[in-house]
């Protein structure tokens, strides 16, 4: 009897383990792609329903409410000169990851390989790679999109199970560092190379089938921020890429 009970326990535990290893208990080694509890791939459009005046158009110099900057950042922002950025070849300063995600952009998310998710934007034509696991593409020079390390966060404390008929739930967490100094807002509100950009990506599905990708993010910058700057940005799923319209960086608009 004891053996029977023990076998029962092991059987149930094994069953749960298989469920956690992939969709439908697929055989073979688990990859980030097969382990994904949510499908973020596809085309997404930012809905600029918040902070419209600061996100859709370039605000005036000194118009930086809501960002917890310090005095050093204020002085830099008040000296913002897009012509200087253009002359220095830095017209993409507002398109670094922490600023870009609040921009009026579409996202195109695909899998580059089994452990790397690719996020492209038509606004500024930027590409960011999310690397899962310990694998790294090696030390890289600081860039506008930096180095993003990602992991799946399974719902329910690690198993990705939800309430509805075995459906899988979870989110993606990413931390981006190795950033080239840029702007949090188009009008020259700075972030430094010491910035870390943490994001939590949630997929929300409505009863009518609409899907939203919500990017809850925290910008930590010990150089120019007095406190972490935390916001949530939402994108709506589009059926295809017919509205995808790449345009290069623009320091002025």
């Amino acid at each position: 009897m004891r053996r029977t009970s023990l076998a029962l326990i092991l059987l149930i535990l094994a069953s749960g383990t298989l469920t956690a290893q992939g969709r439908g208990g697929q055989a073979g080694p688990q990859t980030a792609r097969t382990a994904a509890p949510i499908d973020m791939t596809g085309y997404w459009v930012a809905i600029i329903s918040e902070d419209w005046r600061w996100r859709m158009i370039t605000p005036s110099r000194g118009d930086f409410p809501s960002i917890p900057i310090n005095l050093a950042a204020q002085k830099l922002a008040e000296a913002w000169d897009p012509a200087k950025d253009e002359a220095a070849g830095e017209q993409c300063k507002a398109y670094g990851a922490p600023g870009l995600m609040r921009g009026p952009t579409r996202l195109h998310i695909t899998w580059l390989d089994d452990s790397t998710m690719k996020l492209e934007t038509d606004y500024g034509m930027q590409t960011r790679l999310f690397e899962f696991g310990a694998a790294s593409r090696g030390a890289a020079k600081p860039s506008w999109q930096g180095t993003s390390v990602a992991q799946w966060v399974m719902a329910g404390g690690g198993r990705g199970r939800g309430a509805a008929g075995g459906a899988r739930f979870g989110s993606m967490k990413s931390v981006t560092t190795n950033l080239r100094p840029g702007y949090l807002r188009k009008n020259g509100v700075p972030y430094s190379e010491k910035t870390s950009f943490t994001e939590y990506w949630d997929l929300l599905t409505e009863t009518n089938g609409d899907q939203y990708l919500v990017d809850t993010n925290v910008v930590n910058d010990p150089v120019y921020l007095q406190l972490p700057w935390m916001t949530a940005i939402h994108f709506k799923k589009e059926k295809d890429g017919s509205k995808w319209n790449p345009e290069p960086c623009d320091a002025r608009f």
Binding site: I9, I48, I57, A163, T207, Y212, H234
Partner: protein, 357 residues
């Protein structure tokens, strides 16, 4: 459970009973262990404890949530013609009338309010969560999210400022559907209306000390498409958010009670209709909340016509400070030296009035 061994042979009945107890003992103990294991590896569906006080962070829609939005600013809104027309009737002294004091306190408006809230659970007799409740002085009625599967009542049932809400867990996200709301505003201080047929889907996701709330509001009368708002709130272990089911009058002019007047602008006579146009060079269709202005392709229309407005510091009111560090109260961002829009100049030592040396 006490262990019983099969050494007692007093009679057959006793022997049989003893055997059953022994069998039960062998079976129940592993099952108890099994249950304990399952509780750790297969968590219940209400995976996340939302209980606590949450503080707003004034990092999104700061002007609206802090000092108050510019009149005639409906940017970011997908308004119908009716919604736009009704919003343009609004004047700042409308909330001075008793009947309209509660319009800014509703399940829809709380994402635009400057103060925090509390969440707690109400338990059923069996220990399950019967309802999650969101309360705070930004809400006239608590939002009570029923988790027991009850249906929404008849459309003719009582409508409350907190509405009637049912919820379910989708992974670690609590999704609630709110109906039966009273007529209220969608955003505070500019008169953007919601009807009593409005519905809101709320998604609450807590991780570490952050709570993300995404609301998707629909209104057949006043919204041309769903209005989506996502906000981050921060858990505050020292939070003392009041749960006061009363309205904050927040009169900005002498009250108008007993005068019989309903403050309003007649159609076409709102002097602030073009405020955003003349102050920020925002095109009229954006300022007036046309849905097309919410999407990136609209920006391309602006590129050839948009002119950068004057520097913020030279504009009045400026509201050029970095942020308000104290929720809901005019207060300076520490150590900044910016103009906060007429409240006074802020310096390293704090606020000074405009006339103070």
């Amino acid at each position: 459970m006490q262990s019983i061994t099969p050494t007692d042979h007093r009679d057959t009945e006793t022997q049989r009973n003893t055997f059953l107890w022994y069998w039960a003992s062998l079976t129940v103990r592993p099952l108890t262990v099994l249950g304990a294991i399952l509780m750790t590896v297969m968590p219940a569906f209400a995976q996340v404890d939302l209980t606590g006080s949450y503080q707003t962070r004034m990092y999104e829609d700061y002007i609206e949530r802090g000092p108050g939005e510019f009149m005639g600013n409906y940017t970011g809104m997908p308004l119908t013609d009716d919604g736009r027309a009704k919003a343009l009737l609004y004047t700042s002294n409308l909330p001075s009338t008793y009947e309209r004091q509660c319009l800014p306190q509703s399940a829809g408006v709380f994402q635009y309010r400057p103060v925090g809230f509390r969440i707690w659970s109400e338990m059923a007799e069996d220990g399950s969560v019967l309802a999650w409740v969101i309360g705070g002085d930004n809400l006239r009625n608590d939002i009570r999210i029923w988790m027991d599967g009850r249906p929404h009542p008849s459309p003719n049932a009582l409508h409350l400022a907190g509405g009637f809400a049912t919820g379910k867990w989708e992974g670690d996200t609590l999704t609630a559907r709110v109906t039966h709301l009273k007529t209220a505003w969608i955003r505070r201080g500019v008169g953007i209306p919601a009807s009593d047929l409005t519905t809101i889907t709320m998604h609450l996701t807590r991780r570490e000390d952050l709570l993300t709330i995404t609301t998707i509001q629909e209104d057949a009368y006043y919204l041309s498409e769903p209005h989506v708002v996502s906000r981050v709130w921060q858990w505050n272990p020292r939070g003392t958010e009041a749960d006061r089911p009363i309205c904050n009058t927040a009169n900005e002019i002498p009250t108008l009670e007993d005068t019989g007047a309903v403050p309003h602008y007649l159609p076409g006579q709102n002097p602030e209709e073009d405020y955003m146009i003349r102050t920020f060079n925002v095109p009229k269709e954006a300022a007036m909340g046309y849905a097309e202005t919410l999407y990136p392709e609209y920006r391309k229309k602006l590129k050839s016509i948009y002119k950068l407005p004057a520097d913020c510091i030279a504009r009045a009111p400026g509201y050029c400070c970095g942020w308000i560090e104290t929720q809901g109260r005019p207060g300076g961002a520490p150590n900044l030296t910016c103009n906060d829009g007429g409240f006074g100049t802020l310096g390293p030592r704090g606020r000074r009035t405009a006339t103070e040396k």
